[in-house]
Symmetry: C2
Subunit: 248 residues, 2 copies
C-alpha cells in the first residue's frame, strides 16, 4: 500500500486540488483511499460529499470513536473512497494528539487499498505531524511566490527531524511541484533559480498550468478527469500522476 | 485608532499581500502599525524584515515578555512600523492563550498610531480569535473558488459568536473583497452569483486583478507602492484603500 501526503504549510498552493485529482487518476487502475486531514474539509466537498452524507469523520478516527475502515466511505467515483473531514478536526490541532494515531489506523487497513492520498491543512501543527508520521512520501506543491520559498526550509526541517527522532524512518520528500505555473514570467524564473540551488534534484519536470476548469470542477464536486477530460489541467495532472509513480 | 484585520481561514487568498499594501498606502498620510499574527511571518519578510533584525516578536508580546511598544519596530518605509512574527508563534495556537491578550496590548498604544492592520493565519484557531477580539473591522479577502464560499459561513459564524459572547461588541465585517479576480470567467460569475445571494451588501466594488508585480515586490521585501507604482496591482490597491475608508 503506497501512501503519499500533499503538504505545504503555505496556504492556497493547490494541495487539495492535487489530492483529489491524483487520487481520482490513480483510482482508474487501483483502489484508492483519500484521507482529508484538513478541518476545512475541502477534499471532502471537492469529491461531492456533503456534511449530511457523512457518518464518521477523520476526527472520529483519530479520537478512536470508530475504525478507519468504518469511516472510509465510497464516493460517486469508482474505486475512490474518502475519510471525510469536518470542522471538529480543528480541535485536535492541540499538542495532546498522539503523533502515531493516523499511522496506527492506516496499518489496520494495510493491503485493502493500493494508494492512500492524504490532504493536509495549511500548517505544520499536530495534524500535519500525524500525517508525516503515517505516510512514506510527501509531495510538496509550490506556487511560485516568495513565501513558498521561506516556508520550504521549515517543511524540510520538519521531515528531517521526524526521521531523526525515529518517528518515521521511511518518510521521504518525493518531489517539489509547481502549480499555477507561469514559466515565462520573471517571477517564476527568479523563484525557480532560487529553489534550484537548494532543491534541484527534487523539482519535478511536469508542472500544472493555471486552468480555470480545475476550479469549476470543485464547484460541482468532481475530479477533473470526470468534469472535463479535454481540459489542459487534466493532461497536466496525467503527467504528474505518471511522474510521481516513476519517482516513487 | 482604527484597527482592521485581513482574515480568511482559507489559505493563499491574499491576506498578507493586502495587509502589507494597505498598511503601506495608509502610511502615506498616517502612522500605521502592521501586526503579523501568522507564524509563517510572511508580512514580516514581505516588508523586508529578516529574522536577524528582529528583537521581539508577536509571540513575546502575547506571552507578556515585552510590551507591544517595545516589539513594534520601524520598517524601511516611513510611518510604517511592524510587530514581526516568528515561527514560535505557532506554539500559542493552543487553547491556553487568553483571548484578550492582543486587545490588552493594543489598548496600551491607543493613540500612538492612526491605523493598526493585522495579518492573520489561515485558520480560525486561538490566534485568529485573539485578532477578532482586538480589532474593530474585518476585511475578508476572497479568491473566487468553491472553497472560499464553504469557508465564509464559518467565518461569519465566528464573528457573530464573538459579538454574542460579548468578547468584542464593535467587531464588524467591513466587506468581502475579490483578489486575483477574473470577472469575465464563468467560474467568477458562478461564485459571485452564489456569494451575492448571501452577502451582497458586503461585497466591495473594487477588486484586485491578478498582477505578477505584486508577487515580485515580495521577493525584494517592498510594498507595491515602493516597488512599482505603475503596476496595475498598485492602482487597484489605491482604490481598495479608499473604498475601505469610505465603508469604515
Ligand atoms: N492549476 C490551477 N489553476 C487554476 N486554479 C487552481 C489551480 N490549482 C488550484 N486552483 C484553485 O486555487 C485555489 C486554491 O487551491 P487549493 O484549495 O487546492 O489549495 P490548498 O493548498 O489546498 O489550500 P489550503 O491551504 O487552504 O488547504 C482553489 O480555489 C483551486 O480551485
Ligand atoms: N492579485 C494578485 N496577483 C498575483 N499574485 C498575487 C495576488 N495576490 C496575492 N498574490 C500571490 O499569491 C500568493 C498568496 O498570497 P498571500 O501570501 O498574500 O496569501 P495569504 O492569504 O496571506 O496566504 P496564507 O493563507 O498562507 O497566509 C503570494 O505568492 C502572492 O504573491
Ligand atoms: Mg486544502
Ligand atoms: Mg499570509
Amino acid at each position: 500500500m503506497k501512501s503519499i501526503a500533499l503538504a505545504n504549510q503555505k496556504g492556497g498552493v493547490g494541495k487539495t486540488t492535487a489530492s483529489i485529482n491524483l487520487a481520482s487518476l490513480w483510482a482508474g487502475r487501483s483502489k484508492v483511499l483519500l484521507v482529508d486531514m484538513d478541518p476545512q474539509g475541502n477534499s471532502t466537498s471537492g469529491v461531492g460529499i456533503f456534511t449530511k452524507e457523512v457518518k464518521w469523520t477523520t476526527a472520529d478516527v483519530l479520537e478512536g470513536k470508530c475504525s478507519i475502515r468504518e469511516a472510509a466511505q465510497k464516493t460517486g467515483f469508482a474505486n475512490l473512497s474518502i475519510v471525510p473531514a469536518h470542522l471538529g478536526l480543528a480541535g485536535l490541532e492541540a499538542d495532546s494528539l498522539p503523533i502515531h494515531r493516523l499511522e496506527e489506523n492506516l496499518q489496520q487497513i494495510e493491503g485493502e487499498f493500493d494508494f492512500v492520498v492524504v490532504d493536509s491543512p495549511p500548517s505544520l501543527g499536530r495534524l500535519t505531524l500525524n500525517v508525516f508520521a503515517a505516510v512514506e512520501r510527501v509531495l510538496v506543491f509550490i506556487k511560485a511566490g516568495h513565501f513558498s520559498i521561506t516556508g520550504l526550509e521549515q517543511l524540510f526541517l520538519t521531515v528531517v527531524r521526524l526521521r531523526l527522532r525515529n518517528v518515521n524512518q521511511s518518510l521521504k520528500v518525493l518531489g517539489l511541484f509547481y502549480n499555477e505555473a507561469q514559466p515565462n514570467t520573471r517571477l517564476h524564473q527568479m523563484i525557480h533559480g532560487a529553489l534550484s540551488e537548494a532543491y534541484s534534484p527534487l523539482i519535478l519536470g511536469a508542472y500544472i498550468p493555471r486552468n480555470v476548469h480545475l476550479g469549476e470542477a470543485q464547484v460541482v464536486g468532481e475530479p477533473i478527469n470526470f468534469f472535463d477530460p479535454r481540459a489542459r489541467g487534466y493532461r497536466a495532472y496525467l503527467q504528474l500522476a505518471e511522474e510521481v509513480l516513476q519517482k516513487w
